[in-house]
């Protein structure tokens, strides 16, 4: 029996060896049949390694930039849009627009001959017109609209930009003219119209889906006028678009656009390096130098539309005294922060608005780093030996990549002038809530602009209304400053508004409700074969106009 078993084993091994030899020798024959080496390279396909999954494809329902990249910036257009790579407002679905003299209404002349996407389940029978505009806005603003509740509708951006309070009514003057009537003059309104929530969707498609009893499909199978149309979304994996052949501004230079969803930044870089994607957002700051050294990759950079700040709670003593706030400003060594926290990828901030926004006042003089003067000023205000706290955010944001480190530096700087500060932190949601309630002495936070209008920084973060609801973390309501902002809202003359905002920035600096810390620099690694990619100041990723060599 023992011998038999051994023989069987020998035969088995010999057989296996023969099979392996045959398979290996016959490789040239079977390999091309079973594993053809060719990959069906589609003509002009651009792959973008995106950082996360979109929440959905109707931008008015959501608030995250990841969702906007996948929806409003690819599938849809707005009445007016930001010129790619700038904060300048240009015509899009509206050919022209004009504000009434009293600032209480805006009339848009719509573009003719704009085609909607044709999808698997929908073929448009008409071009874009005023009905689509009314549908897109009334859905968000009119609780009686049949689509208001569809997809669990909560229109947080529409709400957040105070549109319900602002818009009195929207009137269809004729098929190609729409008039927005406002409750009060609001110059930034036109900038709001270029925001993602203001994307225009097909009313015809929505009606059809409603009639079919599947209204949610209007959101799941989006139909817009944008440069790309949705082909497929595989949840958490891939979003596939193709160029909209009838795009009103000319067909995109790439035929297929693919978002390969890749949550980890190091993995994204590896993908970019080996050519699995062409563009990647949000590199690890620590990797920037390595990426720059790669000959296949260009690293684009631009200052972000954001500001990181430390707000003093002026409702608490001694921060109600502006000398204390000024002294604490002088004690912070911003250069050290830029080096240690931003690793050079930041620029010291002196104004509450970033330099890429119009009306940025370059004449503002920042508090120079001067511990001695700070100490003296603090003593003069009777706050020597102050004990306080610094709140540090638990998350990484573009305007503050490492709040804890930043807080530690400020803590050490203040210790030099005899101020003892304790660092406090909470879970992010809790942090936002508590700081909004004013539970802090000083708090680190920041802001990324929504619409490129100075009002979107100054009024939202420092106005008196914001002090009441808490978005103004300094809880600082200073009448001379607020009056300038309100006045600027009431005129649509850019020159006049610029003068008012420039003045407001000087008042802000003198009163020092914040220590303005930094504006970040955005890095965008792009492979060499990609042409004309431009960094979007709003933090979006836009592929219309981008080509492949």
């Amino acid at each position: 029996m023992g011998k038999n078993t051994r023989a069987t084993w020998l035969w088995l091994v010999a057989g296996l060896v023969i099979v392996i030899v045959v398979v290996v020798l016959a490789r040239p024959y079977w390999e091309p049949r079973f594993f053809p080496p060719t990959v069906t390279e589609i003509e002009k396909t651009l792959v973008y390694c995106s950082e996360g999954s979109p929440e959905g494809f109707n931008p008015s329902l959501y608030t995250s930039g990841t969702t906007f990249d996948a929806s409003s910036r690819t599938l849809f257009n707005k009445l007016v849009e930001f010129e790619r790579g700038t904060t300048k407002i240009v015509a899009a679905l509206a050919e022209s627009w004009e504000a009434a003299d009293d600032g209480l209404s805006y009339t848009f002349k719509l573009r003719k001959g704009v085609k909607f996407h044709t999808t698997k389940n929908f073929t448009p029978s008409r071009d874009f017109n005023a009905d689509d505009v009314l549908h897109s806005f009334n859905r968000q603003g009119d609780p009686a609209h049949p689509y208001y509740k569809v997809s669990g509708g909560t229109y947080e951006y529409y709400q957040g930009m105070s549109m319900p309070a602002l818009i009195k009514e929207i009137v269809k003057v004729d098929d190609y003219t729409v008039k927005f009537v406002l409750n009060e003059p609001e110059a930034p309104f036109i900038a709001n119209m270029a925001m993602d929530f203001a994307s225009i969707m097909s009313a015809e498609h929505a009606d059809k889906m409603m009639a079919a009893g599947t209204p949610e499909k209007a959101d799941l199978e989006p139909v817009g006028t944008g440069p790309f149309q949705l082909v497929q979304y595989q949840k958490d994996a891939v979003i596939r678009y193709k160029a909209h052949p009838g795009y009103w501004d000319g067909k995109a230079a790439i035929d297929t656009l693919i978002f390969a969803i890749t949550p980890d930044a190091s993995v994204r870089y590896q993908k970019l390096k080996v050519g699995e994607c062409h563009v990647m957002p949000y590199p690890n700051p620590a990797d920037i130098d390595t990426i720059k050294a790669n000959p296949d990759i260009n690293v684009l950079e631009q200052e972000g539309l954001n500001v990181g700040y430390l707000a003093f709670n002026v409702e608490r003593k001694p921060f109600d005294d502006k000398r204390v706030r000024q002294a604490l400003n002088m004690a912070i060594n911003k250069d050290a922060i830029i080096d240690a926290v931003f690793q050079g990828a930041g620029k010291a901030a002196k104004n509450p608005i970033p330099p890429t926004i119009w009306s940025y006042n370059d004449a503002t003089k920042d508090y120079a780093y001067d511990p001695e003067a700070a100490k003296a000023l603090l003593a003069e205000a009777g706050a020597a030996g102050l004990k306080t706290n610094i709140w540090a955010m638990p998350v990484q944001r573009p305007y503050n990549p490492n709040a804890k480190r930043m807080a530690e530096i400020i803590q050490a700087d203040w210790a030099k002038i005899g101020v003892e500060a304790e660092i406090v932190t909470f879970e992010w949601g809790e942090y936002l809530k508590r700081s909004k309630n004013g539970e802090h002495d000083t708090v680190l936070l920041g802001w990324t602009g929504d619409n490129g209008d100075p009002d979107n920084f100054l009024y939202v973060l420092l106005g008196c209304d914001a002090a009441k609801d808490g978005t103004n973390r300094a809880r600082w309501c200073h009448k001379p400053f607020n009056d300038l902002l309100v006045q600027a809202k009431r005129t649509s003359d850019i020159g006049e508004r610029t003068a008012l905002y420039e003045k407001a920035q000087l008042v802000f600096k003198e009163e020092a409700p914040w220590a303005t810390i930094a504006h970040s620099v955005v890095f965008m690694p792009v492979r060499k074969e990609v042409s004309d990619y431009r960094i979007d100041p709003f933090g979006g990723h836009i592929f219309y106009g981008v080509g492949l060599k």
Binding site: M1, G2, T5, R6, F34, F35, P36, P37, T38, V39, T40, E41, I42, G52, S53, E55, G56, T63, S151, G152, T154, E156, Q159, G160, E216, V231, Q232, Q234, K235, D236, A237, V238, R240, I258, A260, I261, T262, P263, D264, S266, V267, Q270, K271, K273, V274, E276, F426, E427, W428, G429, E430, L432, K436, L445, G446, W447, T448, D469, G470, T471
Partner: protein, 356 residues
């Protein structure tokens, strides 16, 4: 049973219990376990501070009235016990809730993503078994040799391997530097795959695209290794100790004395008996695999339920988290139940218990 092999409850002799009663007992234990899991799934995520609505709006903030309105809209304004009862009530009606982020039913999101996790877990388990079993057997047979010590040393390292670091290391070496494997994803994005079964290995064969299957296979290599590392170490060690135990038994000595070929003794007489505790280990490894999948999927951008659960937790998407945890727990319970049942069938001490 003694030595390094833990005594599984099912291993203890069941002198007066029939196989049928054994099954009933095991089923009976599932019901309270299930309810225990609903409690954990529901309350655990709520113990983490963070308001889903505050997270949704970020720095922008939200008016208190609007906040209250949204809480009501999502049903979070009710007392916690009422929410819990509503959750269980819906569960019993087969409703796992609707995501507050994507507004889609949790069950359908889960089912869309689950095949990717199964595919990866199966491959990882297969990888772990294909290497773990032979290595464990060899180590037992050559007990005390350099081979044995090396294998056990490596498996201890494998067992304590931080998955995230391990995954990144492999990607940087094999994909980034050597270019042997793709970096991440399930298949090259250049293939247009319409999910039919959800299993990429099958779907890639169904489409008539040359090279698609190969691409899917290549994409599986690194995640399989990363996810399979810990189970591999466990199985190798478990197999070794079970084999050692069996090899010391009297009947093995008898077999040797009878002059049976060593291969036959090890392959048939010893292995069969040693496999019994190993099968239990495999059942227990399902939990480990699903937990490991969370990290593996995140790093390899693998669109499975682990990746999805992590995102849901970050967004405080309560319905997705509690529904997802519950579904995963159900799967682990089911697999362990099946293993126990299979065990009852395989283990003669249980199979024949009623007759004796």
């Amino acid at each position: 049973m003694g030595g390094e092999v833990p005594a599984h409850p099912a291993l203890r002799p069941f002198p007066r219990q029939t196989l049928f009663r054994f099954f009933i007992t095991r089923f009976g234990m599932v019901v309270p376990t299930f309810f225990g899991v609903t409690v954990v799934a529901f309350f655990l995520i709520r113990l983490i501070p963070g308001d889903p609505i505050e997270l949704l709006v970020g720095e922008r903030g939200i008016a208190p009235e609007r906040h209250a309105y949204l809480l009501k809209e999502f049903g979070y304004d009710r007392p916690l016990w009422q929410q819990y009862l509503g959750f269980v009530h819906n569960l019993l009606n087969g409703d796992f809730g609707t995501s507050i982020v994507s507004r889609e039913p949790v069950l359908s999101e889960f089912l869309t993503l689950f095949p990717a996790t199964i595919e990866l877990s199966f491959m990882a388990l297969f990888f772990a078994l294909a290497i773990g079993l032979p290595v464990g057997i060899l180590a037992a047979v050559r007990r005390g040799t350099v081979f044995d010590h090396t294998v056990m040393g490596i498996s201890l390292t494998g067992y304590s391997m931080p998955i995230f670091w391990w995954g990144l290391l492999l990607i940087i070496l094999f994909s980034g530097t050597l270019g042997w494997t793709p970096v991440s994803g399930r298949i090259s994005v250049l293939y247009y795959i319409e999910p039919t079964t959800g299993f990429m290995l099958i779907d890639s064969l169904l489409i008539d695209e040359p090279g698609a299957f190969k691409s899917a296979l290549r994409h599986l290599i690194l995640p399989t290794i990363v996810l399979g590392t810990i189970p591999l170490a466990v199985i190798a060690r478990q197999t070794r100790s079970a084999m050692l135990e069996v090899l010391g038994e009297d009947y093995i000595r008898t077999a040797h004395a009878k002059g049976l070929a060593p291969m036959r003794i090890i392959g048939i007489h010893a292995l069969r008996n040693a496999l019994i505790p190993v099968i239990t280990t495999i059942g227990l490894q399902t939990g480990v695999l699903l937990a490991g999948a969370i990290l593996t999927e995140t790093i390899f951008a693998w669109p499975g339920v682990g990746n999805w659960l992590i995102n849901s937790i970050y967004r405080r998407d309560y319905p997705s988290v509690q529904g997802g945890i519950l579904l995963v727990a159900c799967i682990v319970i089911t697999v362990n139940l099946l293993v126990d049942l299979a065990y009852g069938l395989i283990n003669p001490r249980i199979r024949h218990a009623g007759k004796s």
